[in-house]
């Protein structure tokens, strides 16, 4: 041993070391005390943070609630339908942030019509930027199964990005719990919230599809994509959950794409033979009215879809879409 190793600690050094040790122990204890949850998690679910989606709707215009554009080119019918409602400027103001919620439920090629058409989504993004002068447009959905693949293989991710939108894939931290006032199913349930928390407007885009459980999947069913958790339990009461989703989400505008309609084997489809060309696109501020019209594209009646009457009863919109005097146009 050399001289240095034999050196003894001075009293001062000892006190300093002891002091540091004491402070460390005290800090750890204090932190533990502050973080300690004496009650622990309760049985059932109780969360401190509950959220409510804000109302994104715009001022009602009696004669400009719903438009129906006929034509095979989605970009043209979209532009026409929105123009008939007063133009995108009515819905998106300069500097606003817009969230677009297309149906991206499956990792399915666009040709099969199981998801929103990517070119239609891209055209809405372009409109928001070019005419609406939006500051930012995001495109999001919660497909549950491999969202990245769903956005990639449906073509929506690439098309939306190319049009300038930010594609937001769902992450666990984006989900917050909500309870729908007057709801029976949406109680303390996680929803995809964060992407919608700071936006000014919300636009839903959905294809017209046959749906094995719900009868049909259109703009109201599209909000199912916001649900987190084991949302399949709601299949037991599909009509109520769709009606409650329509109560929960008050969008700025919905776009129902009936250019090609999935007539059979929905919601997944799988064959182009499941599709029928109807060359119809609906834009509306009333999702109940839009879906009620959409029934006709599926050779269904409004009464075939009980969720429409439930939503109407809840004051979401009207199934009597003709009373809204929808504006019709054909794009040659």
């Amino acid at each position: 041993m050399n001289e240095q190793n034999d050196k003894k600690l001075s009293r001062r050094q000892l006190l300093v070391s002891a002091g540091k040790t004491g402070i460390s122990i005290a800090a750890a204890g204090a932190a533990s005390y502050l973080l300690y949850d004496a009650k622990g998690p309760k049985a059932g679910v109780e969360y401190k943070e509950h959220v409510i989606l804000k109302n994104f709707s715009v001022q009602h215009r009696p004669d400009q609630t719903m438009s129906i554009a006929k034509g095979s080119d989605r970009a043209e019918t979209l532009n026409k339908a929105i123009k008939l409602l007063g133009g995108i400027e009515r819905f998106v103001r300069p500097g606003e942030t817009v969230a677009i919620k297309p149906n991206v439920a499956f990792a399915s090629p666009p040709m099969l019509g199981a998801t929103a058409n990517p070119e239609l989504v891209a055209e809405v993004v372009r409109l928001c930027y070019s005419r609406g002068k939006a500051k930012k447009v995001i495109v999001t959905d919660n497909p549950i199964n491999d969202p990245a693949s769903c956005f990639a293989l449906s073509g929506i991710g690439k098309a939306a990005s190319a049009a300038g939108a930010k594609v937001v894939l769902p992450k666990a931290k984006f989900f917050k719990h909500t309870t729908l006032a007057g709801g029976t199913l949406i109680k303390d349930w996680p929803i995809l919230f964060e992407p919608f928390a700071k936006v000014d407007k919300v636009i839903g885009i959905a294809p017209v599809k046959n749906h094995h459980r719900a009868g049909a999947s259109m703009t109201m069913k599209n909000w199912y994509g916001l649900l987190g958790g084991r949302r399949n339990i709601f299949h037991q009461d599909i009509n109520t959950i769709i009606a409650e989703l329509a109560m929960m989400v008050r969008p700025t505008l919905v776009i129902l794409d009936g250019t090609e309609v999935m007539m059979t084997n929905g919601p997944t489809g799988g064959s182009i033979s499941d599709l029928r060309r109807a060359n119809t696109l609906i834009a509306s501020t009333d999702c109940v009215a839009a879906d009620s019209y959409g029934c006709s594209l599926l050779d269904m009646k409004v009464s075939d879809l009980p969720y429409l009457a439930k939503a109407e009863k809840a004051g979401v919109g009207t199934t009597d879409y003709e009373s809204l005097k929808p504006i019709l146009a054909t794009v040659s």
């Binding site: 240095q4 439920a105 090629p109 033979s273």
Partner: protein
Amino acid sequence: MGLVPYRARRLESVISICLLAVLFLIGVGVFIKQFDYNTNQYGIQQLGVSLISIGAGLVPTGFEMLSKVEVYNSENLYEKINGKAPLYIESGFKELSTQRFVNINDRSLWMELYTYDMGTVKNAFSVYSIQRRAGSEAFPPMQLGTPQSGNPFAYRTDNALYFVHGRYYIEIVGSSESGELFSAIAEVARKIQANLAAGLDASIAELAMFPQENLVPGSIKLYLVNAFGFEGLTNTFTAKYKSGNETVTAFLSKRADSKDAEVIAESYRSFLIENGAVIKNTTSKTIVGKVMDFYGTTEIVFTAGPFVAGIHEAENQQAAEKLAKILINKLNSLNNE
């Protein structure tokens, strides 16, 4: 206790730093590992039980795997097919394995293979038949599916191939109508047929119980539960027949015995009457009291030994009664064998 020498304290510091470094590395390891968890515990498995034995052998020529095999059970099937999950689960679904393949030279050409293990050939036939696309083309070249005279249990559309392989119902869905892609789809189907053990010895006896004359090819469907919205009608086969310019639907359901068949038939007739049906007159003695008008369509419900059978929603009463008589005779002849 004496004070610690400086060298010993330095050694302690080094050891402490090493321990902290180890703890840090463990933390990093846990952080990284959480993104590569054992998905078996959460429903999605890395390798499908049903496809694992075949492995990469399914990849068609000129293609490569685009995704790993994913496996879904009845708990998480909805994650893959959403609202269509109940159709499978109510039909005895066990497991779904999926995998995608992509063309090496043209990435726009890809396909997804869905292998539904339905437990029995009957369950597989049920989901196959219920979803069969009207007007689709039978796909007999490879005699896919359960061997059955005139019923290869396989059909194609422009972009996809659907078939029953023993207890499996299989869909191979292509991303386009490309002929090259469909050739690859057919190649995958052949490989499945050759390599996936499926218990092909099982057959569906009821298929041969329908009269063959005027039977629309590929029209037989099997509803395992809730046929025509009536809970009591389980295990019910339907078949379409040409009658002039019209189509008439016949059905049959084999029960435990003739007594059970009578009970179910009577319950179903009562169900129809409760929902608005009224008994119609008929000149045919064998079905007197069994012909009903249901909002302008004709319903006939009768029994033949252990079978509940009849005609469903026929536009034309005469055509319905004619087919009903043929079906009664056929079933009675089978009962007498």
